[in-house]
């Protein structure tokens, strides 16, 4: 702990009301939460300055999972870098592959065949569902509800089986690659996927009844860690935390890529209590809203996938010149919508096949920075609620 120097803020510590009433001042204490803590979702260390049950300040410390992912990008060819992007946000490998592939394709001026694009959309959305399922399940776990976690993982396993059938891996897919997708889907895969979607849609109600509308859960997450619209924009939040603050912004609609403009879907945002199914006791921008945006997004993903499968064109799934591509002496920055927010890749070419510079903008990293702001003067038990609702993946924060 000796490396952490916190400047003292006597104003925060002295509760004038209580002093006037003759109450005694209590000592503040520094508590380390993590790096090995079940509710920090990886190796996140948060230093809490506490006063009894109150957390006066929560400072996230990162870097425990740093693997030089960006530097490696400058040593290997883009198609070889795809497996590394899997390992950044390991819960959404497909979306990461897609982001990097799009960046390289746009830089090299490559066209992705229509079937490749549609397959990419299907897999990206399927991965979004899988990632949100982990997020919902573990968030319930943080709040002390074990059952939803098991149900969420049951469905996630089915998605992983579908992924395994298509690409052979269950976590680090490397399926979406430069120029399209690595393989065509096997025979009967689309039907299996349709079957799964039919099954899955009925399960969303289960999650809602088990967790979303559970009174204890609402009490634990409603009106906790409220982020206003202005704050969300000021801190550069993206993805569900941004939409949970009531801002309708999604790159799939704002700057469509891979043919998202062809599909009809909505962007769910947090609504004030009383509209639709939103219960009392929550408010826009709190932990519950961020959580619920994810539930709503899953239904939209199902909708997009259905359309993509209905319209799935025949033909090539990968551009001919797929593997080794010459990158022109130029630069590009592309952002796509990852389950956690906007994942951006900056690629700078220098005329050879190996990029001169690769830089990633991780949504978890940017979203995590709001912790310090919104976990201020909260109860100790609210800290896991706030961190869990932002849904960070440490692999991508540290890269």
């Amino acid at each position: 702990m000796s490396d952490v120097v916190l400047e003292s803020q006597p104003d925060v510590l002295i509760d004038h009301d209580r002093v006037e009433q003759g109450d005694l001042r209590t000592e503040e204490m520094l508590v380390n939460m993590g790096p090995q803590h079940p509710s920090t979702h990886g190796v996140l260390r948060i230093v809490l300055r506490t006063d009894g049950e109150m957390v006066l300040e929560a400072v996230p410390h990162i870097g425990y999972l740093h693997r030089c992912a960006e530097k490696i990008g400058e040593a290997v060819q883009p198609y070889q870098y795809i497996p590394y992007t899997d390992r950044m946000d390991y819960l959404a490998g497909m979306n990461n592959n897609q982001a990097f592939s799009i960046a390289v394709e746009r830089l090299a001026g490559m066209e992705v065949p229509p079937r490749g694009q549609a397959l990419r959309v299907i897999f990206a959305e399927l991965n979004r569902i899988a990632s949100h399922l982990v997020s919902l399940g573990t968030y319930g776990l943080d709040m002390g509800a074990f059952t939803p976690f098991l149900y969420c993982f049951r469905e996630r396993e089915m998605i992983l089986d579908l992924f395994e059938a298509a690409c052979g891996a269950r976590l680090t897919y490397s399926y979406i690659t430069i120029g399209g997708v690595h393989d065509d889907v096997p025979d009967g895969w689309i039907d299996r996927c349709r079957e799964f979607l039919d099954y899955f849609e009925t399960k969303i109600d289960d999650y809602n009844n088990l967790l979303s509308f559970n009174h204890i859960f609402i009490k634990r997450t409603g009106r906790v860690g409220v982020i206003s619209k202005e704050e969300a924009i000021a801190f550069g939040l993206t993805g569900p935390p941004l939409r949970g603050s009531g801002i309708r912004f999604d790159l799939r609609k704002a700057l469509p890529y891979d043919g998202y403009e062809k599909y009809d879907f909505e962007i769910p945002i947090a609504e004030p209590p009383g509209t639709g199914v939103i219960p009392q006791g929550v408010e826009v921008g709190d932990c519950w809203s961020r959580y619920f945006v994810r539930v709503l997004e899953m239904t939209q993903s199902v909708r997009i996938m259905r359309q993509a499968m209905d319209q799935l064109p025949d033909g090539e799934f990968r551009a001919k010149k797929g593997t080794t591509v010459k990158l022109p002496d130029d630069e590009i920055y592309v952002e796509v919508e990852n389950p956690r927010g906007q994942l951006g890749f900056y690629v700078r070419g220098d005329g050879s096949a190996i990029p001169y510079r690769v830089k990633a903008r991780g949504p978890s990293f940017s979203n995590l920075c709001i912790t310090q702001h919104c976990a201020k003067n909260v109860l100790l038990a609210d800290v896991p609620a706030i961190i869990g609702s932002i849904d960070v993946v440490m692999g991508e924060v540290d890269r």
Partner: protein
């Protein structure tokens, strides 16, 4: 002034309730929503279990599963393309001279393969080595459960395996005389996988004789 905890009690409609009513309302809400959840759990109490009792029950792997490699040494022309494609440089190839594929027999001849090894401590099963191979002699297999006691033991020498007529490393349990039931099933699956892939040549004895003896002579 210290702010009150943001996660404090009640809100919305409940603000207008008297504290006593609010207290009982909270209890009622909690109990009723928990009961809704319990009903869902109860429904699954009588459903089929989805948990797989691994390792007593082996997981059903998909045909495209990316496990430990299958490598056909007799087709390999030692062109190094797989080693170059590997992002982590974990394929080691040594040869005594250039090799060429014989069109008729489908067996590479020329120099000898003295070493073809993959360091599985580094390999990330990305299958990038499979794509560029001109003779289609390296494939992803269906073995996923292997371990080593040190780093050296994680380097699989495929040339050594070929002397025994094998194309892929065998987990320890597979080499045992008496196999438990689950292992027997896995072993059958493994053999079937090796025999089902029509891209692979299946004459193991020929491989052993052609490669193993040649290697032994060379040594």
């Amino acid at each position: 002034m210290r702010a009150t905890p943001t996660g404090s009690f009640s809100g919305g409609k409940m603000n207008q309730m008297s504290p006593v009513r609010e207290y009982f309302h909270n209890i009622w809400q909690t109990v009723s929503t928990i009961l809704i959840g319990m009903r869902i759990s109860l429904k699954y109490c009588f459903a089929k279990t989805v948990t797989l009792q691994y390792p007593d029950v082996a997981p059903a792997l998909q045909p495209r599963y990316r496990g430990f490699h299958f490598y056909e040494i007799e087709k390999c022309i030692a062109c190094d393309l797989c080693a170059k494609a590997c992002p982590v440089d974990c394929i080691y190839i040594e040869k005594t001279g250039p090799r060429k594929l014989d069109k008729v027999s489908g067996i590479a001849a020329g120099g000898l393969m003295t070493r073809y090894a993959i360091d599985y401590a580094k390999c990330m099963f990305c299958a990038l080595c499979v794509d560029p191979c001109p003779t289609d002699c390296i494939h992803m297999g269906n073995i996923h459960d292997m371990s080593g006691f040190n780093r050296e033991s994680m380097i699989v020498e495929f040339t050594e395996l070929a002397k025994d007529g094998l194309q892929t490393p065998q987990p320890l349990w597979m080499t045992k005389e008496k196999l438990p039931e689950w292992a027997a099933t896995r072993k059958k699956e493994w053999t079937e996988f090796a025999n089902s892939n029509d891209k692979m040549s299946h004459d193991r004895e020929a491989r052993r004789v052609a490669m193993g003896d040649a290697l032994a002579d060379n040594a």
